[in-house]
Symmetry: C2
Subunit: 191 residues, 2 copies
Protein backbone atom coordinates (compact mmCIF):
# COMPACT_ATOMS: atom_id res chain seq x y z
CA UNK A 1 0.00 0.00 0.00
CA UNK A 2 1.15 3.49 -0.83
CA UNK A 3 1.29 5.94 2.09
CA UNK A 4 0.89 9.73 2.16
CA UNK A 5 -0.62 10.19 -1.30
CA UNK A 6 -2.35 13.52 -1.76
CA UNK A 7 -6.15 13.35 -1.69
CA UNK A 8 -7.34 13.29 -5.31
CA UNK A 9 -10.63 12.59 -7.02
CA UNK A 10 -10.68 11.20 -10.58
CA UNK A 11 -13.85 10.65 -12.65
CA UNK A 12 -14.28 7.25 -14.28
CA UNK A 13 -14.77 7.93 -17.98
CA UNK A 14 -16.73 4.77 -18.80
CA UNK A 15 -19.32 5.25 -16.05
CA UNK A 16 -20.61 8.81 -15.59
CA UNK A 17 -20.81 9.90 -11.95
CA UNK A 18 -18.38 7.25 -10.73
CA UNK A 19 -15.25 8.56 -8.99
CA UNK A 20 -11.92 7.07 -7.89
CA UNK A 21 -10.60 8.69 -4.71
CA UNK A 22 -6.97 8.42 -3.67
CA UNK A 23 -6.68 8.70 0.10
CA UNK A 24 -3.72 9.88 2.17
CA UNK A 25 -2.82 7.15 4.67
CA UNK A 26 -0.59 8.26 7.56
CA UNK A 27 1.80 5.48 8.62
CA UNK A 28 3.65 5.45 11.93
CA UNK A 29 5.09 3.04 14.55
CA UNK A 30 1.58 1.92 15.53
CA UNK A 31 0.20 1.17 12.07
CA UNK A 32 -1.71 3.78 10.13
CA UNK A 33 -4.55 6.29 10.27
CA UNK A 34 -6.81 7.54 7.50
CA UNK A 35 -9.74 9.82 6.97
CA UNK A 36 -11.74 7.27 5.00
CA UNK A 37 -14.42 9.82 4.14
CA UNK A 38 -14.21 13.54 4.87
CA UNK A 39 -17.16 15.58 3.75
CA UNK A 40 -15.54 19.00 3.49
CA UNK A 41 -12.29 18.10 1.72
CA UNK A 42 -13.99 15.62 -0.60
CA UNK A 43 -16.93 17.75 -1.67
CA UNK A 44 -14.39 20.50 -2.49
CA UNK A 45 -12.82 18.02 -4.93
CA UNK A 46 -16.11 16.96 -6.52
CA UNK A 47 -17.41 14.08 -4.41
CA UNK A 48 -21.18 14.65 -4.05
CA UNK A 49 -22.41 15.80 -0.64
CA UNK A 50 -24.29 12.52 -0.47
CA UNK A 51 -25.44 12.57 3.18
CA UNK A 52 -24.80 9.00 4.35
CA UNK A 53 -27.27 7.40 6.74
CA UNK A 54 -25.70 3.96 6.98
CA UNK A 55 -22.17 2.61 7.38
CA UNK A 56 -21.76 -1.07 6.44
CA UNK A 57 -18.93 -3.56 6.76
CA UNK A 58 -18.62 -6.90 4.99
CA UNK A 59 -15.87 -9.20 6.16
CA UNK A 60 -14.43 -11.92 3.94
CA UNK A 61 -12.70 -14.84 5.57
CA UNK A 62 -10.93 -16.11 2.47
CA UNK A 63 -9.27 -14.63 -0.58
CA UNK A 64 -11.51 -15.34 -3.54
CA UNK A 65 -14.78 -14.50 -1.81
CA UNK A 66 -16.83 -12.67 -4.42
CA UNK A 67 -20.02 -10.59 -3.97
CA UNK A 68 -22.34 -9.02 -6.52
CA UNK A 69 -23.31 -7.79 -9.00
CA UNK A 70 -25.88 -5.54 -7.29
CA UNK A 71 -27.18 -2.19 -8.52
CA UNK A 72 -28.95 -0.53 -5.63
CA UNK A 73 -31.28 2.45 -5.36
CA UNK A 74 -28.73 4.57 -3.46
CA UNK A 75 -25.21 5.95 -3.79
CA UNK A 76 -22.18 4.30 -2.16
CA UNK A 77 -18.76 5.41 -0.98
CA UNK A 78 -16.55 2.31 -0.71
CA UNK A 79 -13.09 1.47 0.59
CA UNK A 80 -11.36 -1.23 2.64
CA UNK A 81 -10.12 -1.29 6.23
CA UNK A 82 -7.86 -4.33 5.84
CA UNK A 83 -6.84 -6.44 2.87
CA UNK A 84 -7.33 -5.75 -0.79
CA UNK A 85 -10.10 -6.22 -3.33
CA UNK A 86 -10.57 -6.39 -7.06
CA UNK A 87 -13.66 -4.30 -7.71
CA UNK A 88 -15.82 -4.51 -10.82
CA UNK A 89 -18.63 -2.14 -11.75
CA UNK A 90 -21.11 -2.43 -14.59
CA UNK A 91 -23.38 0.45 -15.55
CA UNK A 92 -26.91 -0.95 -15.37
CA UNK A 93 -28.74 2.37 -15.77
CA UNK A 94 -30.92 2.66 -18.83
CA UNK A 95 -29.21 4.86 -21.42
CA UNK A 96 -26.16 4.99 -23.67
CA UNK A 97 -23.64 3.78 -21.06
CA UNK A 98 -25.67 0.64 -20.16
CA UNK A 99 -23.24 -2.29 -19.99
CA UNK A 100 -20.07 -0.22 -19.60
CA UNK A 101 -17.53 -1.86 -17.29
CA UNK A 102 -14.85 -0.47 -14.95
CA UNK A 103 -12.49 -2.58 -12.83
CA UNK A 104 -9.71 -1.66 -10.41
CA UNK A 105 -7.87 -2.83 -7.30
CA UNK A 106 -8.69 -1.15 -3.98
CA UNK A 107 -6.60 -1.20 -0.84
CA UNK A 108 -6.98 1.09 2.17
CA UNK A 109 -5.43 3.99 0.23
CA UNK A 110 -8.19 4.12 -2.40
CA UNK A 111 -11.95 4.63 -2.36
CA UNK A 112 -14.71 4.55 -4.98
CA UNK A 113 -17.87 6.60 -5.25
CA UNK A 114 -20.57 4.55 -6.99
CA UNK A 115 -23.76 6.28 -8.05
CA UNK A 116 -27.19 4.73 -7.71
CA UNK A 117 -27.96 2.19 -10.43
CA UNK A 118 -24.39 1.13 -11.14
CA UNK A 119 -23.83 -2.60 -10.56
CA UNK A 120 -21.34 -3.18 -7.75
CA UNK A 121 -19.20 -6.26 -7.12
CA UNK A 122 -15.89 -7.25 -5.66
CA UNK A 123 -13.54 -10.14 -5.01
CA UNK A 124 -11.40 -10.28 -1.85
CA UNK A 125 -7.74 -10.77 -2.82
CA UNK A 126 -6.56 -11.44 0.72
CA UNK A 127 -7.93 -13.48 3.61
CA UNK A 128 -9.65 -11.33 6.23
CA UNK A 129 -10.50 -8.47 3.91
CA UNK A 130 -12.87 -5.95 5.51
CA UNK A 131 -14.86 -3.88 3.00
CA UNK A 132 -16.41 -0.71 4.42
CA UNK A 133 -18.96 1.59 2.82
CA UNK A 134 -21.38 4.41 3.37
CA UNK A 135 -24.79 4.68 1.72
CA UNK A 136 -27.39 7.44 1.61
CA UNK A 137 -30.59 5.42 2.00
CA UNK A 138 -31.59 2.94 4.67
CA UNK A 139 -31.48 -0.68 3.58
CA UNK A 140 -34.41 -2.98 4.23
CA UNK A 141 -35.05 -6.56 3.16
CA UNK A 142 -37.82 -5.02 1.14
CA UNK A 143 -35.47 -2.64 -0.71
CA UNK A 144 -33.99 -5.65 -2.48
CA UNK A 145 -37.03 -5.70 -4.75
CA UNK A 146 -35.66 -2.42 -6.17
CA UNK A 147 -32.15 -3.84 -6.82
CA UNK A 148 -31.04 -4.73 -10.35
CA UNK A 149 -28.83 -7.83 -10.42
CA UNK A 150 -26.28 -9.12 -12.94
CA UNK A 151 -24.41 -12.41 -12.93
CA UNK A 152 -20.78 -12.26 -11.83
CA UNK A 153 -19.97 -14.56 -14.75
CA UNK A 154 -21.90 -12.46 -17.30
CA UNK A 155 -20.41 -13.21 -20.72
CA UNK A 156 -20.91 -9.73 -22.15
CA UNK A 157 -19.14 -7.87 -19.32
CA UNK A 158 -16.51 -10.66 -19.31
CA UNK A 159 -14.96 -9.50 -16.04
CA UNK A 160 -11.53 -11.07 -15.59
CA UNK A 161 -11.73 -12.13 -11.94
CA UNK A 162 -8.20 -12.61 -10.56
CA UNK A 163 -9.38 -15.80 -8.81
CA UNK A 164 -11.62 -17.97 -11.03
CA UNK A 165 -15.25 -17.93 -9.88
CA UNK A 166 -15.38 -21.72 -9.64
CA UNK A 167 -12.77 -21.51 -6.86
CA UNK A 168 -14.50 -18.57 -5.17
CA UNK A 169 -16.90 -18.41 -2.23
CA UNK A 170 -20.24 -16.92 -3.36
CA UNK A 171 -23.70 -16.65 -1.82
CA UNK A 172 -26.37 -18.92 -3.28
CA UNK A 173 -28.30 -15.80 -4.27
CA UNK A 174 -25.39 -14.41 -6.26
CA UNK A 175 -25.08 -17.62 -8.30
CA UNK A 176 -28.55 -17.08 -9.78
CA UNK A 177 -28.43 -13.57 -11.26
CA UNK A 178 -29.17 -13.10 -14.99
CA UNK A 179 -26.85 -12.43 -17.91
CA UNK A 180 -26.76 -8.84 -19.23
CA UNK A 181 -29.13 -9.59 -22.13
CA UNK A 182 -31.79 -10.54 -19.57
CA UNK A 183 -31.37 -7.55 -17.26
CA UNK A 184 -34.07 -4.90 -17.09
CA UNK A 185 -32.09 -1.66 -16.94
CA UNK A 186 -32.20 0.36 -13.74
CA UNK A 187 -34.74 3.13 -14.38
CA UNK A 188 -33.30 6.57 -15.18
CA UNK A 189 -33.20 8.75 -12.10
CA UNK A 190 -35.20 11.92 -11.82
CA UNK A 191 -32.85 14.89 -11.40
CA UNK B 1 -17.61 -12.88 18.42
CA UNK B 2 -21.32 -13.30 18.92
CA UNK B 3 -23.51 -13.34 15.80
CA UNK B 4 -27.12 -12.28 15.29
CA UNK B 5 -27.61 -10.35 18.54
CA UNK B 6 -30.58 -8.01 18.47
CA UNK B 7 -29.69 -4.33 18.08
CA UNK B 8 -29.73 -2.78 21.55
CA UNK B 9 -28.57 0.50 23.04
CA UNK B 10 -27.53 0.70 26.69
CA UNK B 11 -26.58 3.91 28.52
CA UNK B 12 -23.32 3.91 30.49
CA UNK B 13 -24.22 4.91 34.02
CA UNK B 14 -20.83 6.33 34.98
CA UNK B 15 -20.58 8.65 31.98
CA UNK B 16 -23.78 10.51 31.02
CA UNK B 17 -24.47 10.51 27.29
CA UNK B 18 -22.24 7.53 26.58
CA UNK B 19 -23.93 4.50 24.99
CA UNK B 20 -23.02 0.87 24.37
CA UNK B 21 -24.55 -0.48 21.17
CA UNK B 22 -24.88 -4.21 20.49
CA UNK B 23 -24.87 -4.83 16.76
CA UNK B 24 -26.40 -7.75 14.85
CA UNK B 25 -23.67 -9.37 12.74
CA UNK B 26 -24.92 -11.69 9.98
CA UNK B 27 -22.54 -14.62 9.44
CA UNK B 28 -22.55 -16.82 6.33
CA UNK B 29 -20.25 -18.94 4.13
CA UNK B 30 -18.40 -15.80 2.96
CA UNK B 31 -17.71 -14.22 6.35
CA UNK B 32 -20.09 -11.67 7.79
CA UNK B 33 -22.01 -8.46 7.14
CA UNK B 34 -23.04 -5.73 9.55
CA UNK B 35 -24.77 -2.41 9.57
CA UNK B 36 -22.09 -0.68 11.60
CA UNK B 37 -24.13 2.50 11.93
CA UNK B 38 -27.73 2.86 10.84
CA UNK B 39 -29.27 6.23 11.44
CA UNK B 40 -32.95 5.29 11.48
CA UNK B 41 -32.85 2.16 13.62
CA UNK B 42 -30.31 3.60 16.04
CA UNK B 43 -31.94 7.00 16.60
CA UNK B 44 -35.17 5.11 17.34
CA UNK B 45 -33.27 3.38 20.17
CA UNK B 46 -31.76 6.58 21.57
CA UNK B 47 -28.51 7.11 19.67
CA UNK B 48 -28.33 10.85 18.91
CA UNK B 49 -28.90 11.89 15.30
CA UNK B 50 -25.31 13.14 15.31
CA UNK B 51 -24.83 13.86 11.58
CA UNK B 52 -21.36 12.45 10.88
CA UNK B 53 -19.10 14.34 8.46
CA UNK B 54 -16.02 12.16 8.75
CA UNK B 55 -15.31 8.41 8.82
CA UNK B 56 -11.88 7.47 10.18
CA UNK B 57 -9.95 4.22 10.40
CA UNK B 58 -6.91 3.51 12.54
CA UNK B 59 -5.07 0.28 11.87
CA UNK B 60 -2.90 -1.38 14.49
CA UNK B 61 -0.21 -3.78 13.36
CA UNK B 62 0.40 -5.38 16.73
CA UNK B 63 -1.64 -6.41 19.73
CA UNK B 64 -0.79 -4.02 22.54
CA UNK B 65 -0.84 -0.87 20.45
CA UNK B 66 -2.49 1.75 22.64
CA UNK B 67 -3.87 5.20 21.67
CA UNK B 68 -5.20 8.02 23.84
CA UNK B 69 -6.44 9.47 26.06
CA UNK B 70 -7.99 12.19 23.89
CA UNK B 71 -11.13 14.21 24.63
CA UNK B 72 -12.16 15.91 21.42
CA UNK B 73 -14.61 18.69 20.60
CA UNK B 74 -16.99 16.37 18.72
CA UNK B 75 -19.04 13.21 19.24
CA UNK B 76 -17.85 9.79 18.07
CA UNK B 77 -19.46 6.51 17.09
CA UNK B 78 -16.84 3.76 17.37
CA UNK B 79 -16.53 0.08 16.47
CA UNK B 80 -14.04 -2.31 14.90
CA UNK B 81 -13.89 -3.93 11.46
CA UNK B 82 -11.37 -6.64 12.38
CA UNK B 83 -9.78 -7.69 15.65
CA UNK B 84 -10.70 -6.68 19.14
CA UNK B 85 -9.95 -3.79 21.47
CA UNK B 86 -10.05 -2.96 25.13
CA UNK B 87 -11.55 0.53 25.28
CA UNK B 88 -11.22 2.94 28.20
CA UNK B 89 -13.11 6.19 28.59
CA UNK B 90 -12.61 8.88 31.21
CA UNK B 91 -15.09 11.71 31.63
CA UNK B 92 -13.03 14.90 31.29
CA UNK B 93 -15.97 17.33 31.17
CA UNK B 94 -16.14 19.85 33.97
CA UNK B 95 -18.83 18.84 36.44
CA UNK B 96 -19.75 16.13 38.94
CA UNK B 97 -18.78 13.18 36.71
CA UNK B 98 -15.26 14.49 35.96
CA UNK B 99 -12.83 11.57 36.36
CA UNK B 100 -15.42 8.79 36.01
CA UNK B 101 -14.08 5.77 34.14
CA UNK B 102 -15.71 3.15 31.92
CA UNK B 103 -13.94 0.23 30.24
CA UNK B 104 -15.12 -2.58 28.02
CA UNK B 105 -14.05 -4.93 25.24
CA UNK B 106 -15.23 -4.20 21.69
CA UNK B 107 -15.30 -6.57 18.78
CA UNK B 108 -17.18 -6.12 15.52
CA UNK B 109 -20.49 -6.91 17.26
CA UNK B 110 -20.32 -3.92 19.60
CA UNK B 111 -20.10 -0.15 19.16
CA UNK B 112 -19.76 2.81 21.51
CA UNK B 113 -21.20 6.32 21.27
CA UNK B 114 -18.83 8.77 22.97
CA UNK B 115 -20.02 12.32 23.55
CA UNK B 116 -17.82 15.36 23.05
CA UNK B 117 -15.44 15.97 25.97
CA UNK B 118 -15.14 12.36 27.11
CA UNK B 119 -11.55 11.08 26.99
CA UNK B 120 -11.19 8.24 24.51
CA UNK B 121 -8.54 5.53 24.41
CA UNK B 122 -8.05 1.94 23.36
CA UNK B 123 -5.64 -0.93 23.23
CA UNK B 124 -5.60 -3.40 20.33
CA UNK B 125 -5.90 -6.97 21.67
CA UNK B 126 -5.13 -8.64 18.34
CA UNK B 127 -2.63 -7.98 15.59
CA UNK B 128 -4.17 -6.19 12.61
CA UNK B 129 -7.02 -4.60 14.51
CA UNK B 130 -8.88 -2.01 12.44
CA UNK B 131 -10.76 0.59 14.52
CA UNK B 132 -13.44 2.51 12.64
CA UNK B 133 -15.35 5.59 13.74
CA UNK B 134 -17.60 8.41 12.65
CA UNK B 135 -17.36 11.98 13.96
CA UNK B 136 -19.59 15.03 13.51
CA UNK B 137 -16.97 17.77 13.05
CA UNK B 138 -14.11 18.00 10.60
CA UNK B 139 -10.69 17.35 12.08
CA UNK B 140 -7.83 19.74 11.43
CA UNK B 141 -4.30 19.82 12.81
CA UNK B 142 -5.47 23.03 14.40
CA UNK B 143 -8.40 21.38 16.18
CA UNK B 144 -5.91 19.57 18.40
CA UNK B 145 -5.50 22.78 20.40
CA UNK B 146 -9.09 22.18 21.55
CA UNK B 147 -8.43 18.59 22.65
CA UNK B 148 -8.10 17.72 26.35
CA UNK B 149 -5.48 15.02 26.98
CA UNK B 150 -4.94 12.57 29.83
CA UNK B 151 -2.07 10.15 30.37
CA UNK B 152 -2.81 6.49 29.57
CA UNK B 153 -0.98 5.62 32.81
CA UNK B 154 -2.90 8.15 34.93
CA UNK B 155 -2.75 6.95 38.52
CA UNK B 156 -6.19 8.21 39.51
CA UNK B 157 -8.08 6.50 36.68
CA UNK B 158 -5.85 3.44 37.19
CA UNK B 159 -6.99 1.76 33.96
CA UNK B 160 -6.05 -1.92 33.99
CA UNK B 161 -4.65 -2.32 30.50
CA UNK B 162 -4.73 -6.01 29.49
CA UNK B 163 -1.22 -5.61 28.01
CA UNK B 164 1.11 -3.57 30.25
CA UNK B 165 1.87 -0.15 28.77
CA UNK B 166 5.61 -0.70 28.93
CA UNK B 167 5.19 -3.54 26.41
CA UNK B 168 2.80 -1.51 24.25
CA UNK B 169 3.37 0.55 21.10
CA UNK B 170 2.43 4.22 21.76
CA UNK B 171 2.95 7.48 19.89
CA UNK B 172 5.54 9.84 21.34
CA UNK B 173 2.77 12.39 21.79
CA UNK B 174 0.68 10.02 23.88
CA UNK B 175 3.57 9.38 26.29
CA UNK B 176 3.56 13.02 27.39
CA UNK B 177 -0.01 13.69 28.46
CA UNK B 178 -0.68 14.92 32.02
CA UNK B 179 -2.05 13.08 35.06
CA UNK B 180 -5.68 13.78 35.99
CA UNK B 181 -4.75 16.27 38.72
CA UNK B 182 -3.11 18.44 36.07
CA UNK B 183 -5.90 18.30 33.49
CA UNK B 184 -7.96 21.39 32.76
CA UNK B 185 -11.50 20.01 32.45
CA UNK B 186 -13.16 20.10 29.06
CA UNK B 187 -15.46 23.15 29.15
CA UNK B 188 -19.17 22.44 29.69
CA UNK B 189 -21.04 22.41 26.40
CA UNK B 190 -23.68 24.95 25.60
CA UNK B 191 -27.00 23.22 24.98
C1 LIG C 1 -27.01 -4.88 2.35
C2 LIG C 1 -27.53 -5.24 3.74
C3 LIG C 1 -27.67 -6.56 4.14
N1 LIG C 1 -28.11 -6.87 5.39
C4 LIG C 1 -28.18 -8.29 5.82
C5 LIG C 1 -29.00 -9.21 4.99
C6 LIG C 1 -28.26 -10.52 5.11
O1 LIG C 1 -28.62 -11.17 6.32
C7 LIG C 1 -26.80 -10.13 5.26
C8 LIG C 1 -26.01 -10.20 3.98
O2 LIG C 1 -26.74 -9.56 2.93
P1 LIG C 1 -26.41 -9.84 1.41
O3 LIG C 1 -27.44 -9.15 0.59
O4 LIG C 1 -26.18 -11.30 1.19
O5 LIG C 1 -25.01 -9.08 1.28
P2 LIG C 1 -24.01 -9.03 0.06
O6 LIG C 1 -24.25 -10.13 -0.90
O7 LIG C 1 -22.66 -8.88 0.63
O8 LIG C 1 -24.41 -7.69 -0.68
C9 LIG C 1 -24.50 -6.43 -0.01
O9 LIG C 1 -23.27 -6.03 0.50
C10 LIG C 1 -22.24 -5.83 -0.47
C11 LIG C 1 -20.99 -5.60 0.28
O10 LIG C 1 -20.74 -6.73 1.01
C12 LIG C 1 -22.63 -4.71 -1.37
O11 LIG C 1 -21.63 -4.47 -2.33
C13 LIG C 1 -23.92 -5.09 -2.02
O12 LIG C 1 -24.30 -4.10 -2.90
C14 LIG C 1 -24.97 -5.34 -0.96
O13 LIG C 1 -26.17 -5.72 -1.57
O14 LIG C 1 -26.82 -8.77 5.74
C15 LIG C 1 -28.41 -5.88 6.30
O15 LIG C 1 -28.80 -6.17 7.45
N2 LIG C 1 -28.28 -4.58 5.93
C16 LIG C 1 -27.83 -4.20 4.70
O16 LIG C 1 -27.67 -2.98 4.44
C1 LIG D 1 -7.53 12.38 14.18
C2 LIG D 1 -6.96 12.66 12.79
C3 LIG D 1 -5.61 12.52 12.53
N1 LIG D 1 -5.11 12.76 11.27
C4 LIG D 1 -3.67 12.51 11.00
C5 LIG D 1 -2.68 13.23 11.85
C6 LIG D 1 -1.53 12.26 11.94
O1 LIG D 1 -0.72 12.37 10.78
C7 LIG D 1 -2.18 10.89 11.88
C8 LIG D 1 -2.37 10.23 13.24
O2 LIG D 1 -2.96 11.19 14.13
P1 LIG D 1 -2.89 11.00 15.71
O3 LIG D 1 -3.44 12.21 16.32
O4 LIG D 1 -1.51 10.54 16.08
O5 LIG D 1 -3.89 9.78 15.88
P2 LIG D 1 -4.25 8.95 17.16
O6 LIG D 1 -3.21 9.09 18.21
O7 LIG D 1 -4.61 7.60 16.71
O8 LIG D 1 -5.55 9.68 17.72
C9 LIG D 1 -6.71 9.90 16.90
O9 LIG D 1 -7.26 8.70 16.46
C10 LIG D 1 -7.75 7.87 17.50
C11 LIG D 1 -8.12 6.58 16.87
O10 LIG D 1 -6.98 6.07 16.29
C12 LIG D 1 -8.85 8.53 18.23
O11 LIG D 1 -9.36 7.70 19.24
C13 LIG D 1 -8.30 9.80 18.80
O12 LIG D 1 -9.28 10.44 19.51
C14 LIG D 1 -7.76 10.67 17.69
O13 LIG D 1 -7.22 11.83 18.22
O14 LIG D 1 -3.44 11.12 11.25
C15 LIG D 1 -5.94 13.13 10.25
O15 LIG D 1 -5.47 13.32 9.10
N2 LIG D 1 -7.25 13.30 10.49
C16 LIG D 1 -7.81 13.06 11.71
O16 LIG D 1 -9.06 13.15 11.84
Amino acid sequence: MEFSKPLTVTPVEQIPGMLVVDLPVHGDNRGWFKENWQREKMTALGVPDFAPVQNNISYNLKAGTTRGIHAEPWDKFISVATGEIFGAWVDLREGPTFGNVFTTHLDASKAIYVPCGVGNSYQALEDQTAYVYLVNEHWSADAQSRYTFLNLADETSAIEWPIPLDEAELSDKDKKHPQLADVTPFPARKI
